[in-house]
Every structure is written in structure tokens, then in C-alpha cells.
Amino acid sequence: MEILTWTYILVGLSFALYIGIAIWTRAGSTQEFYIAGGGVSPLANGMATAADWMSAASFISMAGIISFAGYDGSVYLMGWTGGYVLLALLLAPYLRKFGKFTVPDFVGDRYYSNTAKVVAVICALFISFTYVAGQMRGVGIVFSRYLEVPIEWGVVIGMCIVFFYAVLGGMKGITYTQVAQYCVLIFAYMVPAIFVSIQLTGNPIPQLGLGGSIADGTPLLDKLDGVLTELGFAAYTSGRKSITDMFMITLALMVGTAGLPHVIVRFFTVPRVKDARLSAGYALVFIAILYTTAPAIAAFGIFNTIDTTSEKNISELPQWISTWEKTDLIKVNDKNGDGKVQYVADPAVNELTIDRDIMVLASPEIAELPNWVVGLVAAGAMAAALSTAAGLLLVISTSISRDLFKTFRPEISEKKELRIARLAAAGAIVLAGYFGVNPPGFVAEVVAFAFGLAAASFFPVIIMGIFSTRINKEGAISGMITGLLFTIGYIVYFKFISPETNTSEFWWFGVSPEGIGSIGMILNFIVCVTVSKFTPAPPQAVQDMVQEIRIPRGAGTAQDH
């Protein structure tokens, strides 16, 4: 069968599965809508968290980024997994014991202040919206590349699917769909990786293949270092970023991961505190499977690309290059007219331009796998984008219906609250879809900064709220605002106001805008502690609550008290 037919069949089947699950698990109460009734098993929650977490960017782009960045790409690998250690050890069990529905709930109660809650809601909305627009765009891109429909139509179809199960099913529908989506995406990611690994190194496990040797007996990574330096590029295994910048970016991504509201909220859905701890462990296992495979796909991809194109006759290039040339993801331009491809670091001489996304998208074709594998990768990419979009939309709708509406109009009935939540989810999908079709030029940039903002705003305030009884509302509010404003200010200055000075000589302490969230976080901590020192301690009831959440016993299902 043709690639296109296979793609339609596999993507269609996966969509039918998600919709079936959504109908089967639709939510009847606010408790089911916000936290899936609180009865999700740690294993299922771990899978759902992994799918929620791994976005279109993780699935499609990350391996390609590493292909071209080499060692420097490690910031994403360590940053986006190390955060789970912080989450498991410092946040998840205590927030589960606290036992409400959202992060602003915690901030509002712990800091006994609706102002603090509203600041937290604004942070949550800002982070989630920037992130979700990127996902919708991802859905559109996958549709247009594989199913040959225009991006706009792809976004609209994606919106309808997410609308259906997020609005109908709430957290309950999302959770069980995400379990299915994880299975689809990990299978789709691993199949081509395993085959490429066998072809190149003879080892079926990509994680070992990356450290294996190619046919002539040289270790793959050494060969790659040699080939790249010969062509004028930096060696694959050595760094180009400064150590300070590597350090700060990794830290910002780790702490940001632990502060993302759509990830934190997943730990409210399990029955017990010890399930929250265990569930974070499972989540990281499921994430690690993809994240330790990605660097292997990265190295195999760049090696194969150079090996099959560099100094080869243009008329004899492999089939996949001409297939993907149609999508403009790869371009060959014989500048010196010698009929051969020169792939070199010098842009004036270089004749081959490769989009990073090709490393994953074209991997089945590079490995000459059967057509159904291509369809599978399309379904996997779609699963990654849809699952993350749904998780984010839920945070947005909960923030509006519960953290804003219910806080200021506590008398509304549960039925009405549920209706507002669904309405908010629908509104958020339309808005996200609009940005997916008409992306403001800065969306792609901003998604990366959502982490810096989460790091600089939420993380310190939640940690201090658990590990200190002395931090008060004045400290928390001023800390959050300082962290947020400082980080936004730094990013806006270097990215939009004065982009020409966005180089290491102008950066403060040599920290790039990607890593500035770490400094924002430290500022937040300092301001928070200092302001608290000079203002009155929190009321006794709040201090007792903090003591209470430190002990696992007595955690009922999260509920509306």
C-alpha cells in the first residue's frame, strides 16, 4: 500500500480509539472533571504524565536539535528529565496531601490571600497559553506533511478531536486517552530507532548502539567527531556553549519542568501520597525510554545524512531526499556546479540545507522500512501533540472556572461550575486554534521561555510554602512578581527590543535568555525570604496546615472543602 493510505488508516484508527475512550470515560462531576475522581492508579498516571509531558517538540524536534547541537543538546535531555526528581522529592507528595485541585488553590490557601491566588492564576494562564499554541501548530504541521491537507485544516481537525475529549471527558477522559496516546507514541518512536540501530551498529538497543561501532570497527561517536571536524563543524561530543550557560539553561529547564502546572496537577489524581511518589517514578521511566533513545536517533540521523550525501553525485542521492525535498525540509543547491553535494560548515560553499525535524520524520525512510512505519510515526507525532494540548487546555479551563470564578462567586452550584469549566475549555481551544493557524512570529521562541517563567514564578513559592512555615503572603507575592517581571524583562529585552545585542558579551554573567529563569528563581527566593523576615508571620492555622501536609497519613481523595 501507499504511504498516504497507511497514514490515513493508522491516524484514523488512533483517533477512533481516543474518541471511543472519551465517550466511555466522560466526566459527571467537577471532581471527575478536575482530577479524574482521584482514583487513577500510579502506573496509569505515570503513563498519562509521560504523554502529557512529551509534546510535539519532544517527539518531532528534539532529536534533530541534538543532531546539530551535539553535546550542547544535552541541556534538553538532562533539563527535561532532572526536573522529575525535584517534582517527586520536593513537590508531588506534599501537594497530593494538601488535597485540592490546582496549583493556584495551594498558593491561595498557603498564603491565605486571594491576591496571591490571582497572581498564580495569571502565571498559570500565561505559561499554558504560550505552550498550547505551539502544540496546535504541531498538529497542523503533522497533518500537512503526512496527510497533504493545508495546515489550517490540520489545526481545525486537531481542535475538533481535542474539543471532543477534553470538553466531554475533563481530566478523566484526558487521563485514559493519554495512556493510549503514550503507547502509540512510544511504539512509533522506538520502531524506526531500533531498526536504524541494527543497520548501523548491529545492536538492537539504540542506547547501546549509540556507544557501539560501525561496520569498519570505529566507534560511531568517534567516527562522527572525525567526519564533522573534517567538514569544518565542531566535534559532536564537545561543547560550544560556555559552562555557565549550559549550567543555567539546564537548571532553568529542570526547575521549570517541576513548576509546570499541567504536570503538577497530574499528581492530584492518584489516591494516596505514596502513589504520588511512585507515580513520579513511573512517569520518569516512561519519559526516559524516549529521552535516552533521542540522542541515539540524533547521532544515527546526522551520520546517515552525511554518509549518504556528502561528496555524492546529485543524480545518485537516495530516494528519501527527493521525497522530502518536496516539503522544503531538505534542499540541495549545486552552487559550484560540480554535480556533487558539498555539505560543509561554511554557508557560502555549503550546498545542503537540512531542517532539524527531518531526523525523526524521515527516519523510517532513511532506514528503508516498510510504508506502514511512516504512517505509524505520523500517528505518534499526532499523539504527542494532542496529549499535551489536552493537558494544557484542562489547566486553562480549571484556572478560569475554579480559581477565578469560584473564588469570587463561591455560591455557584457544582453543575454550573462544570458548565463554566466546559465553556472555558471550548473557548481556550478556539483561541489556541487561532494562534495555531496565525502564529504570532514569537510563539516558537516563547514556548522555550515558558520554562524560565515557571521556574522564576511558581517553583520557589511552592517549595517555600512546604519547607518553611515562616514565609508569608507578602513574601510570596513580592517574590513571584519579582521573578516573573525580571525574567520577562530580560527575555523581552534580548529577544525583541535589542536582538542585535543577544550575544554572550552583553548577557549578564554570560547567561543567555534561555537560562535566565535560573537567576529569576534565585531572585524570587531572596525577595521572598527577605520580605517575609520584615513582615508578620503567617497565622497559626496556616502554620498548622504546613505541618499537616508534611505527614502522609490522612490524605483522603482531593476534594472541595
Partner: protein, 87 residues
């Protein structure tokens, strides 16, 4: 209940000790081996990998997984020991 209070303080102290040790290892495998001392470790080889590069792209992630499971086991034991576990 002063005796109860003392017990909770002891529980919390042990919890913090556990966190401190695990987070120290967390820092060493990622920021230490993967970033700060990567060049020194790259002199050592692990099969086809340079050791520092391996830590940055593989080893640290495996270590993170192990750390969380150690934490789970250790905390479950601590909860039972101090009789604050859930039924």
C-alpha cells in the same frame, strides 16, 4: 501532645536528610559529571562513549530514575517506622 510533636520533628528531620543525600547525588550526576567536569571525564572511555558525554546524554537520566525509586522505598519505610503511613 509534646511527645507526638517530638516524633514528628524526628520524622521531618529524617525526611530532610534523605532529600539532602538524594539531591546531592542528583546534582553530581547531572551538573557535576555532565557539565562542570565533562572535559575531565571525557578522557575516560566507556565502550564507544566518552564518559562525560555519556553522563550528559544517558547516564544522568538513568541515575534520575534510580534516585526516585530509592526515594519511594526509603520514604515508605520511614512512614511505617514513624506510624504515619496510609492504610
Amino acid at each position: 501532645m509534646p511527645a507526638q510533636n517530638e516524633k514528628m520533628k524526628a520524622y521531618w528531620r529524617k525526611n530532610l536528610q534523605t532529600l539532602f543525600i538524594l539531591l546531592f547525588v542528583w546534582f553530581v550526576v547531572s551538573f557535576g559529571c555532565g557539565i562542570l567536569f565533562v572535559n575531565e571525564l571525557n578522557e575516560i572511555r566507556l565502550g564507544g562513549y566518552k564518559l562525560g558525554f555519556w553522563f550528559a546524554q544517558q547516564g544522568s537520566i538513568f541515575a534520575f530514575v534510580i534516585l526516585i525509586f530509592i526515594y519511594v522505598v526509603r520514604m515508605n519505610r520511614l512512614d511505617r517506622e514513624f506510624d504515619v503511613d496510609e492504610e
